[in-house]
Symmetry: D2
Subunit: 336 residues, 4 copies
């Protein structure tokens, strides 16, 4: 039984970790900490978790999940790792390999840049073997998960102009986290649709880093995030220009993901909807070539809190501890 600690158990990724681990047969949450709501029981904040009780401390655990704002995990990772505790950070501290890049986007110095070399980017579909041996996992961002999985087969195979990729992505509001912000209120965000951060979003360098890792060509991505009035879900609509002809794209995708337990390549002409993955760890992908032209359109959907955060973190934990990768992650989506 893996002894688990969650730091920051009161944000949306934290409470989602609790929900998923509650059904995990080989893991037990021993400790939940939260600076923000000190002295408040989890159940007081989340009546959905009434009845849960936790005790213990981080050092007693086998793995610590950081479901915290950026900057928290890197302050504690060195000591935990030295003590033999595995670290899975759901924030950005261990996603970017280049500390300078981190500092440019997150506006804070990196507290343990020397650990970046050994930390592993936790996208199992790209780095499965490295994750198995890692001590620190940088769990991917929600947008980068949907977008990289969607582009991966095309870029790996060198079929498209990687210097002109377009990722038009739409996120549910929970992607912004559990915070009181005017623009996130129901009165402002419902019955509304808008783009944001078109000039630059923190997930941009992460996407570029990932795709650069699988090609020798220059990679440029125009990434346009949008806010859509739903709680959960990301829908990435991806555009790339083919540089080779005569490729069976459907087959390419099916073969690339044939052995991936959490990537579902839909039949030709499909339009996956976000609710088809709600509360589950699945990424569903469809690939189109409209009017048989030279632009490929890929549709990629995930639940931002599961495959885009807590579920992928549990998937990584399973890898870290040698469990079957799907352990605790097989509950079907909640629909309707």
């Amino acid at each position: 039984m893996i002894k688990v600690a969650i730091v920051g158990g009161t944000g949306y990724t934290g409470v989602e970790l609790l929900r998923l681990l509650e059904g995990h047969p080989q893991a037990e949450v021993r400790t939940i900490t939260s600076r923000k709501e000190a002295g408040m029981g989890v159940a007081e904040m989340f009546p959905s978790l009434r009845g849960l009780k936790r005790f213990g401390n981080l050092a007693d655990c086998n793995v610590v999940f950081f479901a915290t704002p950026h900057g928290v995990a890197m302050a504690q990772a060195r000591e935990l790792v030295a003590g033999g505790v595995k670290v899975i950070d759901l924030a950005a501290d261990f996603r970017l390999k280049d500390a300078a890049e981190f500092e440019r986007w997150y506006k804070m110095p990196h507290a343990c840049a020397e650990l970046l070399a050994q930390s592993v980017y936790g996208l199992p579909e790209m780095h499965r073997e490295a994750i198995r041996k890692a001590r620190i996992v940088g769990n991917p961002g929600c947008y980068p998960t949907a977008i990289q999985l969607g582009f991966l087969p095309l870029v790996e195979a060198g079929l498209v102009d990687a210097s002109h990729l377009i990722a038009d992505a739409k996120s549910g509001v929970s992607g912004a986290g559990r915070k009181a912000e005017l623009g996130l209120t129901f009165s402002e965000a419902s019955d509304n649709f808008k783009a944001y951060n078109v000039a630059g979003h923190r997930h941009h360098p992460e996407i570029v880093q990932g795709l650069k890792g699988v090609t020798h060509e220059p990679v440029n991505v125009v990434f346009t995030p949008h806010l859509t009035p739903m709680i959960r879900g990301i829908h990435a609509t991806l555009y790339a220009r083919l540089t080779k002809s005569g490729v069976d794209l459907q087959r390419l995708y099916e073969e690339r993901f044939a052995h991936e337990p959490f990537v579902d390549v839909m039949p030709p002409a499909s339009h996956p909807d976000t609710r088809s993955v709600r509360a589950s760890n699945v990424c569903r992908i469809a690939v189109h070539r409209p009017h048989d032209g030279d632009i490929v359109v890929v549709l990629s959907v995930i639940d931002n809190l599961v495959k885009g955060a807590a579920g992928q973190a549990v998937q990584n934990m399973n890898l870290l501890f040698g469990l079957p990768e799907t352990t605790g992650l097989t509950a079907p989506p909640v629909l309707p």
Copy 2:
């Protein structure tokens, strides 16, 4: 392992049964039938269930769930029961003890009125022992579940004027089922709120029958259903006038439900929200007495598709087969 058949696997209660039973360690869905969408795989209608495959026939099973419109279960129940198969009907065929009452509200003759005497109303909090021995269970309606559980302690204890009960109930849109109706479209039902069927709703006789069973006084309920723009959830706001004074209502509720695994009496002054039970089998209840007056206000919330339908049906299956009542029903609510 209980062999399960689902008749009508393509409505919302059917697909919810599939979701819940997928995680049930002692039950296996062998058969799914659907007249409406014959020849269409479940996964084609519900991409959330891609990968599920089923075969078999009803008679091979230990229990058949009818997740069908009213009138289907009663046409097949006699034969199934004779063959030793248990029947759990999620529609209304076996809810009302009085066939005439059924016919008045559902506008069809009852096909097996003689089975009504032995069928059991499947609200475990009222009829647990009878359910254990039943062959046919009439699974309660969604509104009646929330409303009866909320009124039960008051009416059982004879503390209120049972002839003037008021149930102001609000339901998410999935309560209307999976059907194409103008009034249920997003453009008509979102950003909107309305009452409906104020003159009379089919769940009314069911509520009255249940409450009459626990008191010797006349029972009258004014029941006002409303449609609210959410997918899942029922919120019942209940009003009753106290006829006795000096009662500790909080304690009354806590004691009545102390051993109920799926009824959570909230602390004093609470306001349970529907999302705190989303996708789970829990009913949360809070009891108030505003301004210390003589009117009690009870707030009772459930997920209409779980405790109000499929979850309660699984709970009943567990009772029918001697399993721990919570088997397969312990997943935490999905929040946010």
Copy 3:
């Protein structure tokens, strides 16, 4: 042309006043002030109002609308009124006649209690003649508007037990104002339904005061507010026990409101929905007597920002200045 000032033009009632007055043929908004967002143009906060430009000061105007938090209007009213400027307060400063009652609910001393006697409660359907002559109008709260209009005919006619009235009311999220609060975020408030302030809500004394004014019997109201996932709209479901029989309720309502331009009594058996009044100043009411019992059920819907706030304020302005009451308020509801 009436010269108008708006204090607090950046909350939802302020921006709604701007929208309505933009189409008013006899009024012109000269001044908009906002402490919160000083130096920021209205259009920066509300792109819907790009192009509006304002100048001037309060004393130059004929009427000042206070679309501010409680406590602001009473600090400036004395001076304005002395200078001959009419005041319409959309907050609570001039709603309650009893300063002590105000102080109990709003937790602040009243700054000009001596003006309460001459200020008029701005519900035209009850106080039309007094409003015409007033210098200060206390514009009603949103819940009290829907609830009083719904109960009025019954209580005026002495047909019901006024000491046991029940008002089960549901509000859209904009009723909470334009503020960043966790519970109002889309992730928390959508796909959810809950009651709040069951123990006591600030609109309670206002409702009781209004109904007491039209009957000699004691008045008690149990008022249960709920939050529903829509932007605009209030749906009040009202319950009262008849003390007289043989009354034609439909006719009672039709006659009471026959000459009211903004109260629409629906045909028998109707269920008005909130969207049927969206963005308009209309209150639609239906009256029911389920199962011919002794409990009357009244359904009353308004747009909380229009008839429940800014629209009613404009209606009051029209009365104050001798204009036809419907001037500038005839635009049809926005549906869908």
Copy 4:
């Protein structure tokens, strides 16, 4: 006073025409017809319009709006035009100049192909002068309005590779019309996001035809429509690759639309949201060039029922009858 008839007054574009014309000082709706709901008053279907009364027939009118399914207008246009009645079709009968193209996409023969030559595509920002003199106006589709206005300055100026345009567009559910369809129900369409018709959408030829009219280069557009859980609104996110450098895009857009009353070019770095145009005839546009790369990103928002349908139709009517173009269309957006 222009005498107006509306054929098909009971769909969403019909009822929106009624709402807008109700506030038009120079037009009067004399006749509303609807085959679908014969014998039913408008107010019975749309309580928001209770009180409206209409009489008369088409031939008495100066202009007939067809707010009908495709195929209705073309059956009646010849006779009406012969009688001197102007025709504005909100469906597709007069949008495409090429009857064969119409027949390919709409699966019906064109009933009056000879009128296509003289009918005018009703996008005033492109064809203002021709509209003034027209007898038949083909009112643009909602997507084509947002997309063409967004691309127009770039394509007219020959700054981009017009053979690789990408239009990623998101529509509220009312865009699908007022019809009972499973995929449009609240339970299926809310808390969800999906693309549809990626392989080909009927608005595609209309977009291509429009852009071809302003350039000599070949035009190809990849157009991906999506359904987003809101009632009204279209958000088009447009991508084009610059073929010339050194252009001030902000200035290009501002100058192109400087005299357009209904196109609002937002300040640099803006992200217009759909609610900022809700219920109004405005199109708001922002232009971006992320990371100073060679891909331009244009954000273009409209209300699909107003600038995307009924509002633009009224704008066209104003042009047809020599009125100031903004007559009856100046009401501010409804926000929140």
